[in-house]
Symmetry: C2
Subunit: 712 residues, 2 copies
């Protein structure tokens, strides 16, 4: 089925020119390809796309030859149009639709004949304000995303000829027994036509062995004894069963097969150890929201990161986009991605790849940083869209938590617990997916977001001093910006603008300057780099210094959050990835999947077990008393043996002993706090010095921290 694409100023006007279209995809990509535009990611090229969001875009195809008589069983099936459209057959309107997440289908039986023209006319993008759509807000411009508003058919779409007798859907639900020794399976099948005694249900274990086989009329229940449990990354394996539902033809052959892969697990949000006993201030208020992930009865620390769209155009994102990024997520010992409400809701392949890697998904609905008023029109769209999202994703093993959206209960959004859109989302999740936790937004009491810089609070704090003073139950967003690798910079910034970085160049377009309201230096943070190291003389030196701050900062925050366990039970850096190559950004991986040095630091800080040091600032002067509180962090399900940790400074290549700690044997999933060790700092050598923790017999638990000498 081939499509062409043209644009017009009004719904009914005819486009002058048609170009080949890729479905799924985006009108911008098709048009730019046809006109041989240069890479949208380079320089200021994206600005050329601005006019496109205001057009009507006509996707056109023809009904093919070879249909059954009267187009019997013919359907046009669309899984996603971004954002609103009119569908026409030979100029007759068949459907009007709004919302990119709700699929639709049109029965064409008796309507369509070979050669007929089928058109999907995509409407201009909704205006950014007031925010009254489910269009992802990020496209309208964000501190890491240019303003470029995609449009088009973004998910699988085409014609289907459906037999009269068929499976419409098959969905497996289950409940694990309290001791996890069995799973009560519930298969729900919807079918059309006479299917009595012709629906075969098989459960295949992770090795592919059939462990259950039932012939019946459709929906049925069964019990699976001693199921293999699915665990998050670092907590155990990720066995995936397959629920296979086959429609048998009269000859016994499999006329249709629907597979669902499923990892059996129970995920709850609970209060966590000691949470009820804290904060009994008189008079009392409510306890904080429960935010400890309990998986299969085990309370775990959520090693998280924030996930943003991995590309500007949702229609061009697929498993090949997700896979290298999710390999990096798993490789960094992370077990949770918060899919931020400013972006689009990912495709199924994202969740399937997460399930294979033990990555839990915190999925937000597409609301972010705005006051979404509960107008009837918006509530109707949100209702339809959210139901579609829930019905599509509730079968996904990786999906752990629903969340209403990003930062809605804050002064820059001004929604509250009374806002009808939030109550509607809670209701739809309860109605369609009652077993999954729902959070109205993030942050909720006492989750915290921020900061996004190395030095904060008017330079009174740095990342080392700020977080030990906080008492969050979860740090669901924190960031430290860093420049992209030099190779990435060279690919997007014209050579003439590369060094020194200046405002008004591609450095600014790509968010090196002025990206974050109120911080004109973001995200390159020249002022902070200069503060610690003085002016840089080459691009490589500047990048290296900026990247060092990002790596050091993120390691410091992750480990501090872990030291605050069990009060704190989750940490997620802002952000893991990015949708295009920024010159500098909080992401630890540059577009498309290029790790910055911070990636290694994040991976280090999230090792299940490691030696860790609490040091209360980054910048030190010779002669000052340096102090480090020693810890053995353990978020693994394994006990730790007794061991010895040596702490030493490395100053100009010379080791300065700080002290040692004999760590007793430790329980699974339990941190141990050790002594504070210290030394008077010797004379400075170079720009930085290192603190090393050496865990005897367990070099894989060693840690290194870098600190700056105060400039004189």
């Amino acid at each position: 089925m081939s499509w062409t694409l043209g644009h017009s100023e009004t719904l009914d006007a005819k486009p002058d020119v048609f170009v080949p279209a890729t479905v799924p995809g985006a009108v911008q990509v098709d048009w730019a390809r046809a006109e041989r535009w240069p890479d949208v990611n380079q320089g200021d090229n994206f600005k050329a796309y601005g006019w496109m969001e205001s057009c009507y875009w006509h996707y056109r195809t023809r009904i093919p030859e070879g249909l059954p008589d009267h187009a019997k069983g013919l359907y046009f099936v669309c899984r996603g149009v971004d954002y609103a459209c009119t569908v026409r057959l030979n100029g007759q309107t068949l459907l009007e639709h709004e919302g990119m997440f709700a699929p639709f289908e049109i029965n064409l039986e008796g309507l369509a004949r070979p050669g007929d023209v089928l058109e999907v006319i995509v409407h201009p993008a909704p205006k950014a304000q007031p925010a009254q759509t489910t269009k992802p807000q990020v496209s309208y411009g964000w501190d890491f995303h240019p303003r470029l508003v995609p449009l088009g058919i973004w998910d699988e779409t085409g014609l289907e000829v459906r037999p009269e007798t068929r499976l419409r859907s098959a969905e497996l639900g289950y409940a694990l027994s309290d001791d996890f020794s069995s799973a009560d399976l519930q298969l729900n099948v919807e079918a059309a036509g006479p299917v009595a005694n012709s629906i075969l249900w098989e459960m295949l274990d992770p090795s592919g062995k059939v462990v259950l086989s039932r012939l019946g009329d459709g929906s049925q229940a069964a019990r699976l004894e001693h199921p293999l449990l699915w665990w998050p990354n670092g907590e155990g394996d990720q066995p995936l069963y397959t629920s296979r539902v086959a429609l048998l033809a009269p000859d016994g052959s499999r006329a249709q097969v629907l597979d669902q892969r499923v990892g059996l697990r129970r995920i709850r949000l609970v209060m966590g150890a000691g949470a009820w006993e804290r904060e009994r201030e008189n008079p009392v208020t409510q306890a904080p929201f429960p935010i400890t992930f309990e998986v299969n009865g085990r309370e775990i620390f959520a090693h998280g990161a924030n996930w943003v769209p991995p590309g500007i155009f949702p229609g061009t994102v697929d498993a090949s986009t997700y896979r290298p990024l999710l390999d990096l997520v798993a490789g960094a010992h992370l077990n949770l991605l918060r899919c931020w409400g400013g972006g689009f809701v990912n495709k199924d392949s994202f969740f399937e790849l997460c399930a294979e890697r033990g990555i839990m998904v915190w999925q937000e609905f597409p609301l972010a940083c705005n006051f979404y008023e509960g107008t009837p029109a918006y509530l109707a769209v949100l209702d339809r869209e959210s139901r579609a999202i829930i019905l599509r994703l509730r079968r996904q093993t990786a999906l752990a938590v629903w969340c209403g959206g990003n930062e809605l209960f804050n002064s820059w959004s001004r929604m509250t617990a009374q806002s009808l859109p939030i109550r509607l989302l809670d209701r739809n999740c309860l109605d369609l997916d009652p077993g999954r936790p729902f959070l109205p937004t993030s942050p909720v009491f006492n989750i915290r977001h921020g900061d996004y810089r190395f030095r904060v609070n008017g330079d009174k704090d740095d990342v080392f001093s700020l977080y030990p003073k906080c008492q969050a139950t979860a740090y669901m967003e924190f960031g430290v910006p860093g420049p992209s690798p030099v190779s990435v910079l060279k690919s997007v910034i014209p050579e003439s603008e590369l060094f020194p970085p200046r405002r008004g160049t591609a450095w600014e377009t790509h968010k090196g300057f002025g990206a974050w309201d109120g911080d004109r230096n973001s995200w390159l943070m020249l002022n902070q780099v200069d503060h610690y190291f003085g002016p840089s003389s080459t691009l490589e030196q500047l990048v290296s210094r900026g990247q060092l701050l990002q790596a050091v900062g993120l390691k410091a925050i992750y480990e501090e959050a872990r030291r605050q366990k069990p009060r704190c039970s989750a940490a997620a850096c802002w952000c893991f990835n990015e949708p295009w190559p920024n010159a500098a950004n909080n992401s630890v991986v540059a577009f498309p999947a290029v790790p910055k040095p911070a990636y290694r630091a994040v991976a280090d800080a999230n090792r299940p077990t490691l030696g860790s040091a609490r040091v209360l600032r980054f910048e030190w002067a010779p002669g000052e008393d340096f102090a480090a509180e020693l810890w053995l962090l353990n978020d693994s399900p394994g006990a730790t043996p007794a061991c010895e940790i040596d702490a030493l400074l490395l100053v100009g290549g010379k080791a300065v002993p700080l002290g040692a700690w004999s760590v007793p044997a430790g329980l699974p999933n339990l941190n141990q706090q050790g002594p504070k060790v210290g030394v008077t700092l010797p004379a400075a050598t170079g720009e930085t010095f290192d603190l090393l923790l050496r865990v005897r017999g367990h070099p894989e638990w060693d840690s290194t921290y870098t600190f700056a000498w105060k400039r004189t």
Copy 2:
């Protein structure tokens, strides 16, 4: 229709004895009346009722003569059975029902014949634990309520012969325009039989004049221009319209009439002035819950009190119980009652009387201080019961806010925002009554509950020092206990036990001692009374001293909450009334409707406008520097003129000037903070001294505060 009542050990056993029953009522009341038991409120008499909660109680009546042929149109209609029952006709089970708030009806057409025996067999009360019912928790014993668990038919119940053509229901909904200049009315009618063009809808204005008259088939819409608005007590009038729906017979006569009284108003919970600008701690968490009542676009201070069951037996409570209490509520300048989730949901007459008096109702569902697990059985009952409550009450003008229940997100309950019962309640309110605010529980962030004593925090604080340190958005429960009036005490405590009060007597049964876990002196608080005044030598002296502390304490807290406006926008004392005569209790009104001195203090503190003083402790020694910060509190919709406030102490009848304040003219609904005035205290005379604020020209704004001389 007359009923008799007997009890048995099993559902199917026949009672030996039947006694006359009152419907609606309670089995305990009927049985005690038949056996001529003494007053349940006296001494330990209630203990005799203990066995009754474990019986099956058989209500029995006979189908009367004179029915239509085949009992055509005959229904058995029950508005409430406490708590579960089996309904039988001639021994055949027609219905099993659980839940006291969901009404039920049984179509008896073709089933019942004159003389048939109709039985409602009430099951034994559910056990207190685990809390998995909608039975009000207060009955199982509370710090102001004996353990006495009512059972029986508690709301209107009987046979109805219904014509084929009839109105089933008529309900008026409305939406006020943004400028309140018009109301869009929506009448929803359900009818049976042919009603075309025979349903007359009239709107009567508060004077009874017909302002709208429409003949039609049922549901319809209309607009009312320039409606008179309903206002809370102190904010304006309470005009009540009547929506009258009449079914016209062929001869034009009114065969059936359904009236609904309605006050037109819009009530929201909003963030209040300055709320978004406060608490921007970095990293940020969510903003507090919105808890400022906005009525018809005006943000007001909610002058509240907590309402508990006004009797032990819901079935004996009616308008005559409510009226004197609600007159007292209105007389104390209160505009909000929090109907606490530990009690039963009041009858319609409660809400109607509140609407007439400008009292807004915060209605909690019957959950309190327990972990209600979301078992399928409990969720089914809660779903049915909550829907019934919402459908019954959503038409009530006075109903302002729904709330999930009492103190559910605290360590003694351990429910969380993830608890399915809470999510279900939110969903049902959204589905059936989307225009009304919903709170999951009280307290939520940053509402506060407590304390309930004059001296708190291990005697480090008293009510004067504690609350100025708090930063709540609302104080939805705070209490100071006081003894009941001597006349009440004499009516319930045997004369031999009256003085001195001792544990193990009716003083303890009636909550003078050991009522509150962890405070063995509650609620008489002998230790605190003795601390300030030394041992009392007569009952009258003790009562007077205890009542003084209650009055002083409640006045201090209400005024401090008001001084914290706009951060704080609601205050509600625990509690207004009580279900039986306690010897001492936090209530400001003793059973059934006897004001304690604290009632006058509450009324004083809640005057719309008054002079007020912030003094930071209750106990003073001669020679100390006494200080008072002067305020003019104004929660009224009227501006205040410039005025002069004189502050003076009254010590042993002698006036000691403190200072004066020239108060500028003030805006409506705005407090003014004045200077701090002070004086070195003279020698002590008597046990107490007074602080007087005299507002020249406005004696109705004068205030008096009493303080204690430190005992030497």
